[in-house]
């Protein structure tokens, strides 16, 4: 087993100035918090956009208060124009997928906790790490700025299919500068995540503390490790794709624009390009991306459940094996987004099999979580509620995948609300519940104070029920053939579905409002919450062996030595506790368990 001494590399002394402490900080903990702040801001922006969308879908002629002032062009008199709806939708998807789901579980929590959980003092390249955040921030600014230029942001969706996204302004409002800004923002974001990967992977491989073998790494570390390898390969493909698309816009090239297109009466001067090429490049990134969004949450949920079940999972190795296989298979399934795209129908069959097969490791994971709950000592706290909620949502999102994985069924369900329901369950619900659970779980460690339990539980209950109310109806809409990315429903066969949309809108507004409880809890607890001890949840991994919040070099000059597997819970400790920390030299004496 690979055993390494971990000492800090070029280690910086604690910063003294405000700028060095909080703005341009090389401390991975500050960078993690910065990412968390970015993710938090982004999620509220993304949510706000979704409220506008849902209001418009439920009541198409509604004059939304304040919109006329915010965007006189996009919402004259407060009523969203068709193009503005699509622009809001594009920004909603882009912000949520990139700046919330990649940033929060991976960049934010990973940056803060990965070094601590492996027993390192910092990541190996703190300056590059700092750059990673600021580059991501710049990417967000570029994207957001598209709201403020001439005809607004791109309207081609977060998927930006060619040629809509590459022929320029003639294809619609926002498709000129707005689209170029979108492409630039995403290309810059890719760079930021690659810079992050340059730190994450070496931290895990090279900087583990003495005694921290691979098989003693917490599941969250494994999750971040698998995620960073996926991010490495996926973002490295999206970036050149975006650059080629930008060239189609500004340099007159024809990577993605075929010949003889006549858009709005004008013959487009490009020729010979392939629109399917964009789809292949995009989805080669896009599918691993959604696993990048969920795998960290799988690790976080495992960590939380173990802590609050007071016992390890049925098998540590199997969980890792599942996460690894999911990461590996995720590259083979991307064509399931393209079943009816016009690619060779044989390819569709080929892609459908790995898509179906990836259900197996996902199911094993769910069964292991469920099986580990059996005869555990489950404690109900806010983090554990969110972890349990995650399982419920992951099951729901997962089973709808069965439909979409089969090409002939996809004929009926492709581009309908069924797909929207599926991915919101796995991403907007399951992955977000992982993030929320992680926030409640790790808040005491990050900020030195406890979050309010009662408000947290209220937040959970209202969000859990509210979220199901928003997104479960989408499946019915999809089965009935309701097409997505429509700003209004004018087809005869879907007119009768409008009440369902309205129900979902009301649920969305309600659930959105509930998130203010969370925001209030975050802010109030940050300054006035009850002070946290080192290990309020009685957990075992290394972050709980240091103070809350950790000192500058994570362990206060101490170099932790790891003696145990990460989840020694449900055992009898000398001190009378039912757990032993990873860096405790005490020997493990297992409690007598039930025989079966």
């Amino acid at each position: 087993m690979h055993d390494t001494h971990a000492h800090a590399t070029e280690h910086h002394g604690p910063p003294r100035t405000f700028i060095r402490k909080y703005i341009f900080s090389t401390d991975h903990k500050v960078i993690g918090k910065q990412y968390l702040g970015l993710g938090l801001f982004a999620v509220f922006v993304g949510m706000g956009l979704s409220w506008l969308m849902r209001l418009h879908l439920g009541w198409g002629n509604l004059a939304i208060p304040g919109m006329a002032w915010l965007s006189p062009n996009g919402a004259p008199g407060g009523v969203l124009t068709p193009e503005y709806y699509l622009q809001l939708m594009t920004m909603h998807g882009t912000i949520m997928v990139f700046f919330v789901l990649t940033v929060a579980p991976f960049a934010a929590f990973g940056n803060f906790f990965l070094p601590i959980q492996v027993g390192a003092e910092d990541m190996p390249f703190p300056h590059i790490n700092m750059m990673s955040f600021w580059v991501a921030f710049v990417a967000f600014c570029i994207l957001f700025s598209s709201f403020f230029f001439s005809d607004g942001p791109a309207l081609s969706g977060w998927t930006a299919y060619a040629p809509l996204s590459t022929v320029g302004a003639i294809a619609g409002p926002g498709q000129g500068l707005g689209q170029v800004l979108w492409l630039s923002s995403i290309a810059v974001f890719c760079v930021s995540q690659l810079l992050g990967g340059l730190n994450f992977i070496p931290t895990t491989l090279d900087l583990r503390a003495k005694g921290m073998t691979f098989s003693r790494m917490p599941l969250t570390v494994w999750a971040w490790f698998i995620t960073s390898t996926m991010a490495l390969t996926a973002f490295a493909v999206l970036m050149p794709a975006c650059i080629l698309a930008i060239l189609d816009h500004v340099a007159g090239t024809s990577f993605f624009v075929p010949s003889n297109l006549v858009v709005s009466g004008q013959l487009i001067p490009h020729s010979g390009g392939s629109t399917l090429l964009w789809q292949h490049l995009f989805w080669f990134f896009g599918h691993p991306e959604v696993y990048i969004a969920i795998v960290p949450s799988m690790g976080i949920v495992s960590q939380i459940l173990i802590t609050f079940m007071r016992r390890p999972l049925l098998s540590y190795k199997v969980v890792i094996g599942c996460m690894v296989s999911i990461g590996f298979l995720s590259y083979m399934v991307y064509g399931h987004h393209m079943f009816v795209s016009g690619m060779n129908p044989v390819s569709s069959i080929i892609f459908s099999f790995p898509t179906l097969i990836i259900t197996i490791p996902a199911t094993i994971l769910v069964l292991i979580w469920l099986g580990s709950l059996y005869k555990s000592r489950l404690r109900i706290t806010t983090p554990s509620l969110f972890a349990l909620g995650f399982i419920s949502m992951f099951i729901t999102g997962g089973v709808t995948g069965f439909f979409l994985a089969q090409p002939p069924i996809d004929i009926m369900l492709h581009a309908t609300y069924f797909v929207v329901g599926h991915f919101h369950f796995v991403m907007a619900l399951a992955a977000i519940f992982g993030i929320l659970g992680g926030t409640y779980f790790w808040f005491p460690k990050m900020f030195g104070r406890m979050m309010d339990e009662r408000l947290g539980k209220l937040h959970f209950w209202l969000t859990f029920v509210g979220a199901y109310c928003i997104f479960m109806p989408f499946h019915y809409l999809g089965l009935a053939g309701n097409v997505r990315r429509y700003q209004a429903f004018v087809d005869d066969y879907t007119v009768h579905l409008l009440p369902i949309h309205r129900f979902s809108t009301v649920a969305a507004l309600f659930t959105g409002a509930v998130q203010l409880i969370f925001l209030y809890n975050l802010i109030h607890s940050r300054f006035w919450g009850e002070k946290a001890t080192d290990n309020p949840w009685e957990s075992t991994t290394l972050e709980w062996s240091t103070s809350s919040p950790p000192p500058y070099d994570n362990f206060g000059g101490r170099h932790p030595i790891v003696y145990h597997d990460p989840y020694q819970l449900g055992i009898q400790s000398v001190s009378g506790a039912d757990y032993i920390m990873q860096d405790s030299p005490e020997e493990v004496r297992p409690e007598p368990t039930e025989t079966h």
């Binding site: 294809a171 005869k375 990315r485």
Partner: protein
């Protein structure tokens, strides 16, 4: 609170299943030859996925109900079979489902995409553009005239850019609605004028994207007379939501009459 969560999960699961079981919201009735196979596949999958969904949520609820409130005095138990048991279970249940569903769905897909075009199939061309569908029939010569993008002129309704001097174009019939005879195989040639669009007729159980730069074709047979909607499902701009056309499935004599009438209007 754990018991409340368990109950809530079960209620949510049950309520979610109600509209499915009661078939409250269904797609338009199927009127195509391939449709029954697709519908059957959806039903099969719904049954299996539905069982997995309900079972998963109920087991989760059960585990929460029984595990919460167990304190130090209760011993930690290990599920019979352990992790290996879960792995085997997953492989057996899901693996079988996957293989069966995968195999059958491949067959259904092949029916739609690999079946050979019948000899008497009627060729119809559909052109997608921002934000309308136009259809073209080849006329008595059976040949579609060449498309000249530079001749496209919406004002004069030359949507396809046909050159009146081309002999093959002279008898082409361009329409805004699509009509086909019932029980006849149709070869639909799909051409996009500008961007990515898609051709979705829920009633026919057919959905296919247009690929700009590539003319691809699908074929189908409608087996019931009626008027059905064609909608665009690939985001193509601000008018995407409104991009639609009508498909009329008629009796053979009605279709011939319609075609004659349209030809006269060219």
């Amino acid at each position: 609170m754990a018991k409340l969560l368990a109950v809530t999960i079960v209620i949510i699961a049950a309520l979610s299943a109600v509209p499915i079981v009661r078939h409250t919201w269904e797609p338009p009735t199927d009127v195509s030859k391939n449709g029954p196979a697709i519908d059957h596949q959806i039903d099969e999958t719904m049954t299996e996925a539905g069982i997995c969904f309900l079972a998963g949520q109920v087991v989760l609820a059960f585990m929460i109900w029984t595990a919460a409130g167990r304190g130090r005095e209760h011993k930690i138990g290990w599920l019979p079979g352990g992790a290996l048991g879960m792995v085997i279970l997953a492989f057996l249940i899901v693996g079988t489902e996957v293989i069966v569903l995968g195999a059958v769905s491949s067959k259904v897909w092949a029916q739609a995409y690999f079946a050979r075009l019948g000899a008497g199939a009627i060729p119809v061309e559909v052109q997608a553009e921002q934000f309308a569908f136009y259809f073209r029939y080849p006329g008595p010569d059976g040949i579609f005239g060449p498309i000249h993008p530079d001749l496209i002129n919406d004002a004069t309704e030359n949507f396809y850019g046909l050159d009146p001097r081309d002999q093959a174009s002279a008898d082409d019939i361009v329409t805004a609605e699509m009509a086909i005879p019932v029980n006849r195989e149709i070869q639909l040639i799909m051409h996009s004028r500008d961007l990515g669009h898609s051709f979705y007729v829920p009633a026919l159980r057919i959905q296919q994207d247009f690929v700009p730069g590539l003319d691809l074709s699908v074929h189908f047979t409608a087996d019931k007379i009626g008027r059905y909607e064609i909608v665009c499902t690939q985001l193509c701009g601000l008018g995407h939501y409104n991009m639609k056309a009508y498909l009329d499935v008629m009796s053979e004599p009605d279709y011939d009459a319609w075609l004659k009438k349209e030809a006269a209007l060219q």
